[in-house]
């Protein structure tokens, strides 16, 4: 965390001039962002600040109005139409975890993790299952392999969702408020898996309200408002001594909660 913010290492993810319009409303306004390999970036901001939209633009769940996204050195111009091939290539390198888990409830936990590996990466069932079991072990849920998601707690479902995304060997993991739908103690077990992942060197972008997680785990904290990055830097510095008035207001609002 004491490393300089502008590391000489080539960024693994680079966003240039990304904007997203919904009709008249500009949800993301000309955002540029470089993320180094292994860096953990936390994004906070009031609701409607565009942080989730930015995240969803990175793997093109929302198609940005303009901008360029480079993952692992391969740029994708996102102005206008992105070809199906580019779309799949980009999504292969970017894993995503949703607020509402979005597991497939009719498949077992193991199938949830193995099926995408078989269909997207062409792994054999045995290969995929071996990888799935190793990941379930890692997130502490090996005993749940043959359960269906509705039989798991929210925290367990979210850990399965993390394993499902990791199974495709992404270069970058995106987390969209991964603990917002969870009771605090269940959120903790998810955060601990994320912390472990960060320690192992996974590049992560986390949209969150968990200020403690942001300050303990993130290498960089980004504050967004009105679709723009209004402040960024070392998490502890930003939290203890915000330079921008809106950051101060927002931080005191979530502290009071």
């Amino acid at each position: 965390m004491t490393e300089p913010l502008t590391s000489p290492a080539r960024p693994i993810l680079s966003i240039e001039g990304l904007s997203k319009q919904f009709g008249d409303h500009t949800a993301v306004d000309d955002v540029s962002l470089d993320v180094r390999p292994g860096e953990v970036v936390a994004i906070i901001g009031p609701s409607g600040s565009g942080k989730s939209t930015l995240l969803r633009c990175i793997n093109l769940l929302e198609s940005p109005t303009t901008g360029r996204i480079t993952v692992g050195g391969i740029p994708t111009e996102v102005d206008g139409k992105v070809s199906q091939r580019e779309l799949v290539a980009l999504r292969r390198k970017v894993g995503m975890v949703f607020q509402s888990f979005n597991l497939f409830p009719h498949l077992t936990v193991l199938r949830n993790i193995s099926l995408p590996q078989e269909r997207v990466l062409g792994r054999s069932r045995a290969e995929a299952d071996a990888r799935s079991m190793a990941l379930l072990e890692q997130v502490g849920l090996a005993s749940k392999a043959s359960s269906h998601p509705p039989r798991c707690s929210g925290g367990q479902q979210q850990r399965v969702a993390i394993a499902r995304a990791l199974a495709l060997d992404p270069s970058v993991m995106l987390f969209d408020e991964p603990t917002s739908a969870l009771d605090p103690e269940l959120g903790l077990e998810v955060l601990s898996v994320m912390r472990q992942l960060a320690d192992e060197g996974m590049t992560m972008i986390v949209v969150t309200h968990e200020i403690h997680f942001a300050s303990d785990v993130a290498d960089r904290l980004i504050v967004m408002a009105d679709g723009r990055i209004i402040e960024q830097g070392d998490p502890k510095t930003v939290i203890d001594d915000p330079q921008v008035e809106r950051t101060r207001t927002f931080l005191s609002a979530i502290r009071d909660r």
Binding site: N102, F104, H106, A161
Partner: protein, 220 residues
């Protein structure tokens, strides 16, 4: 109830039984073919392209709007006018298949739409193709959601198959009618035919209820 009625019923039963088997055959065939075509139309009428979607929706609405009796008459008496001739059995199957396809495509479409959008987003984010997302995520769950309604519809089509008597098909009602015409004991024979219909529909409804309860417990 006189012993003679019991004797008559015993005498009529073999013919009515044959009729019941014909009713079950046309129903079964129409349902199997109709479900497959219905699934196809459900997918077409939820397609992204309007060029595909609107013609599919139009055909489904025509199929749903058309009374089954009209559909039967059209296939059997109408199509020979353009050189397509069917016997009563295949004509019934064709007509009831079309009716089944039109209705079930709407039932299945509603089932597919009930699958949460978040799961489709997850499938997208994982890089699954649209076809894979439909095949592995949406269709299995959508069909499961639609299953009780589909089975309810299957019972309805079994009842509707009685209309095929108007094509001279020797199904249950047709047999009952011809026994009635020969004996003038319409009331007695129609009551027996009715009982045979009920012998199928009541247990079937009971099964659907049980299935519905089991599925709602499973998915809930």
């Amino acid at each position: 109830m006189s012993t003679s009625l019991i004797n008559d019923w015993g005498e009529w039963l073999p013919r009515l039984w044959d009729g019941l088997l014909v009713s079950l055959q046309v129903t079964g065939l129409s349902l199997v073919l109709g479900f497959v075509i219905g699934l196809g139309f459900a997918l077409l009428s939820s397609a992204g392209s309007g060029l595909v979607r609107w013609p599919a929706i139009l055909l489904v609405e025509i199929g749903r709007g058309m009374p089954a009796l009209v559909m039967l008459q059209l296939v059997y008496f109408g199509l020979p006018g353009v050189g397509i001739t069917f016997d009563a059995f295949p004509a019934t199957v064709v007509a009831l298949t079309l009716t089944t396809a039109a209705y079930t495509s709407e039932i299945i479409r509603a089932g597919l739409r009930a699958v949460p959008a978040g799961e489709l987003e997850a499938a997208d984010a994982l890089g699954l193709s649209h076809v894979d997302a439909m095949r592995f995520v949406v269709i299995p769950q959508g069909l499961r959601i639609a299953l009780p309604t589909l089975m309810g519809f299957a019972i309805l089509i079994f009842q509707v198959s009685a209309l095929a008597y108007s094509l001279g098909l020797p199904e249950l009602l047709g047999q009952a009618y011809s026994i009635g015409a020969a004996t003038f004991r319409y009331l007695d024979v129609l009551v027996l035919a009715g009982l045979l219909y009920l012998a199928i529909t009541i247990p079937a409804s009971w099964l659907v209820d049980r299935l519905e309860r089991r599925l709602s417990k499973h998915l809930g």
